[in-house]
């Protein structure tokens, strides 16, 4: 890595964090609102978790909404039945999503390519049906209601994240930063390098004696923990968990966010999530046919921006 590139990366990183830290101040003048920023962060984290697998291990999971939704239900049920504690609900959501991912991952990892994608989609739908049918616990089609995030209690003082949208944004940003740091740490570790080696050439990795299946399983499980965490945050954001959050169409949204932002870059999915969320918010306010426009966006991205926005920018910069 040359010195210039390192400096450029540092500047970009500084800009990203500055933009995120100041979002409650620059978003409203541009017509946004703080809760929209929170949504971008949460869904961005989810898309980054998907990309952890898709972009860095090269495995196409199309069923990650299941673990996202499980995280949401885990957090909601913990708040409703276990204890009214925000941190506890986050941990519960993360564990539910991650453990489910670990178990199903063991069944899935031996498949590759399209077959892997199909199996992940089909297994993802299991939880959708469970949430849909088991209405005595999950609220069925209406979703899980009757819980809300609690103020953070630090003994000496407490932070009201329930009614104050800005403090909640900063709380989510704090959680996002923790998760992003953990993700970055894994990707920089020897394990993360091995993931990339598997992505680049699975056969060669196998010949080098790397237990490919085990690595993919660990990566799958980790990404399910991350996305379960994101799902838990999503439940806190809405004070509601929805079976739609488990549906495969939600998985599709995550994948398109990752692809639109740029699969090969760490921050790409966050950018993709920002574009997607803002576009969806805007389109659904101006037309009832927003679904067609989202569909067109998929087609457009695939045909004209397969490397994503960051990929295209990077190409320009390098050229």
């Amino acid at each position: 890595m040359t010195g210039g590139e390192g400096a450029r990366k540092l500047i970009a990183l500084g800009a990203i964090w500055a933009a995120l830290l100041l979002a409650p101040y620059w978003m409203p003048p541009l017509g946004g609102y703080t809760a929209l920023g929170t949504r971008v962060l949460v869904l961005g984290l989810a898309a980054m978790s998907v990309n952890f697998l898709l972009g860095f291990t090269g495995v196409l999971s199309f069923g990650h909404a299941a673990y996202f939704g499980l995280g949401a239900y885990g957090a909601g049920l913990a708040l409703k039945f276990l204890a009214p504690s925000t941190p506890l609900s986050l941990i519960c959501g993360m564990l539910v999503g991650g453990i489910a991912g670990a178990i199903l991952g063991a069944l899935i990892v031996r498949r590759r390519g399209v077959y892997f994608a199909m199996v992940t989609i089909a297994f993802g739908q299991v939880f959708y049906y469970i949430a849909f049918q088991w209405s005595s616990v999950t609220g069925g089609d209406d979703g899980l209601r009757g819980f809300s995030r609690r103020p953070l209690d630090f003994g000496a003082f407490s932070v009201d994240i329930l009614s104050n949208a800005e403090s909640f944004y900063y709380f989510v940003l704090f959680c996002f930063a923790l998760a992003a740091a953990a993700m970055g740490f894994v990707l920089r570790s020897p394990f993360g390098r091995t993931m990339i080696a598997i992505r680049e050439n699975e056969r060669r990795a196998r010949f080098l004696g790397i237990p490919v299946e085990r690595h993919i399983w660990i990566a799958f499980t980790l990404s399910c923990f991350f996305i379960g965490f994101a799902g838990a945050l999503y439940a806190l954001l809405n004070n509601f968990a929805d079976p739609k959050g488990l549906h495969y169409s939600q998985s599709g949204d995550f994948v398109i966010m990752a692809v639109m932002g740029g699969m090969r870059s760490f921050w790409g999915p966050l950018l993709g999530a920002a574009v997607f969320v803002i576009l969806q918010d805007y389109l659904s306010s101006i037309t009832v046919n927003w679904m067609s426009f989202i569909g067109l966006l998929f087609v457009f991205v695939v045909l004209f921006f397969p490397r994503g926005l960051l990929g295209a920018i990077r190409r320009k910069v390098q050229a």
Binding site: L54, L60, F62, L107, R110, R111, R112, G113, V114, Y115, A117, M118, V119, I121, A122, F123, Q125, V126, Y129, I130, Q133, Y248, S249, G252, V255, I256, V259, N289, M291, S292, I294, G295, L296, L297, F298, V299, V301, V302, L303, P306
Partner: protein, 289 residues
Amino acid sequence: MTQLLLFNVTNGLIIGAFYVLMALGLSLILNLSNVINFAHGGFLVVGGYIAYTITPYLGFWGALLVAPPLTAVLGLAIERALIRPLYGRDPLYSLLLTFGLAFIFEDMTRFIWGAQGLPVTIPAFLAQPLSSEFFFITGYRLFMVGMVIVSVTLLFVLLRYTRLGIRIRAGTLDLETVSALGVNVRMLRSLNFAVGIFLAGLSGVLAAGQLGLEPTMGAGLLMPSFIAIIVGGVGSLTGTLLGGLLIGVASGVTAVYFPSASEAVMYVLMAVVLLIRPRGLLGEEGMLT
């Protein structure tokens, strides 16, 4: 009780026959072109609505004859324009593209024909139950099963005895060699895609007569078709056939004893198959793994 069980098994077989028709089309496209066609359910719905629209002019039989080829033509156009550029790229991209198409299909059918469910009139003599004791066996249901049997047989004859079919099967095994032998692979993929979409259109027309039409019905039939393919084994059309019937009957029987799990049982079946026999019932080792 026997009657109830019989009722649900018959139901399961009929639903299974739908899954088979749908899954065979998906399977054809998946095996040859490595494309998971998420829009397959969308094509099914379009086939049904086309039939609905032309029934007043041509009658039910005319619609049955005309709607599937029209759907196939639409499929061909979409394959040429949108999917062809994606062959040879990561399967992720065709998956995302057809995913977006499914959105567009659902929204456009709602836009054109309305969100309300539409009834489709079938000929009166088909709507009658055949006996009073087995009231659930209507002529239409027998007719549907007959149609599925005929079209599946024709498909297998096409694949086994015609030049196109033999090329499709050879291409499924090794497309590069087939291309090197001078077969126009682009054309082969297009025709194969059209056959798959034809089957989707046909199931759409048949389903419309039984279930009526709704813009969202395609999405509901898509997931069972996926499971049918996985259970039967990717790469094997006979497996897909078996898988579709199996999950249809399994969910029919479960509906008798434990109605709310009739959907979940398919997934349980899939998990069991993947545990015991990861390649699926009739899947070949090493194919698409």
